[in-house]
Amino acid sequence: MSQVYAARGATHALETAGAWLLGALWVLPLVYAFWTAFHPGEFSTRFVLTAPLTLENFVKAWAAAPFARYFVNTVMLVTMTLAAQLVLVTLAAYAFARFEFPGRSVLFALVLVQLMIMPDVLIVENYRTMAALGLKDTIVAIGLPYMASAFGIFLLRQTFKTIPRELDEAARVEGCTPLQVLWKVYVPLARPVYLAYALVSVSFHWNNFLWPLIITNSVESRPLTVGLQVFSATDQGIDWSIITAATLMTTAPLLVAFLLFQRQFVQSFMRAGIR
């Protein structure tokens, strides 16, 4: 709200207090997790300022399950999915934004169906399909249903439509083929949108859980989220210090990236939402 209606006096103080109280509530679970992970087990629920700091929980967690492999799997999953998405989404968005062909609006409506019915709810049938394709328990199978992303097609189509046709035509006059125009004119001009989409996609697939849980069954293909669940549900009993350490460890890359590139993250999520 603008300056005229900024809170003043007692209201201002009250609102600041409210904002901070809510902020404290919001970070409390995280602070608690950090406390537990960095202190020896006997201090996990005792809050003494003199409690010694330790990294032992992380060492134990790392040794207790093949987290290195899970990290590799997740990185492979995220990279592969994003690469495929970028190609597929770019081509489709270009077709919808700049080509006239029969069935265009019907096909676009068919694409938009995925915004409502995401692969997350079609687990039973997609499992059957993956089994038929012989892809069960592979990293490809985790990413495949998400590769043609309706959200990405929609986002990029909107962007491509704002690019002046004159640029497009000028490139054509120079003798560029449609694909060269796409590569030399459209893709470079849409760079911020690509960044936004990439950040949203990477965090979505890094965090995705239910579908990977269903379709994977071995250390070789399990992503971090599923690995973490298998670890904390079966291997560990209830040693909370170690579970919390493992939890923080698996989230660390994303959390660190977020803290470093806060502005880009927030702007990307914003950009991706406004449509």
Binding site: S2, Y5, V89, V124, E125, A148, N207, L210, T225, T247
Partner: protein
Amino acid sequence: MTRSAQWLYGWLLLLPAITLLALFTHYPALATLWHSFLSTPKGARPATFVGLENYHQLTEDPIFWQALSNNLWFAIGTIPASIALALLMAVWVNGRVAGRGFLRLAYFTPTILPMIAVANIWLFFYTPEYGLLEQILKAFGASSHNWLGSKSTALTCIMVVTVWKEAGFFMIFYLAALQSVAANLAEAAAIEGASRWYFFRRVTFPLLMPTTLFVLVNAVINAFRLVDHIVVMTRGGPDNATALLLYYIYEIGFRFWDSAYAAALTMVLLAILGLVALAQFWFLERRVHYQ
């Protein structure tokens, strides 16, 4: 470019994306409908057409009804709360509050954490006897309570986690929208003598309507799509008190391997999502206070 070249280019560019969409969105949606009329193949016995039998089973399955009602309560409990909190957060961090940067960060951080990690952290938070919640309550002299283990509180605990996770995500859309509300509107209203609350209620809030609709649709979809925390925290228990529809589908489909019944359950979920889509179109048609 000739017309036929345009056609050819359009179709060829679309081909890869449409193929994958057809394979993993359209086909499975239709196959779900078809399989919901079949029986589950068992051993050497192949699937046979059974008509509406799976749906009949569904109407007589108390766990289904409980999952459906849990899911509705879950939606009612989480959606308005997270949207209201999101709006409040956005107004606060858009204003002159001290430590604005930190607050934005605090509100938004849960969004980028995986739901499964969040669930692990909260599971510990809720632990009976020595979890943080218990310790705080003990300090106030309250008696011990198994928060996730008792039917009366488990679903509420799950809702709290969901609101905590989602409010910050919705906040940024409100924040973006608030920043685009023109300053001269506020000045004009102030000259007319409108109070702060009146201005918010009659000007800002209506201007935020498109954002609210967008956030609402996302929140509704998420209420039916996200069950990661159920898997980690309660596994639908105690006594199905926290079984949501998608979680029940997961149990039927991948624990009991009853794919036909799971298909019928999925159809219910698809119908709900279809209704949400229709409602959204209807609202967009009427253009709730656009600009």
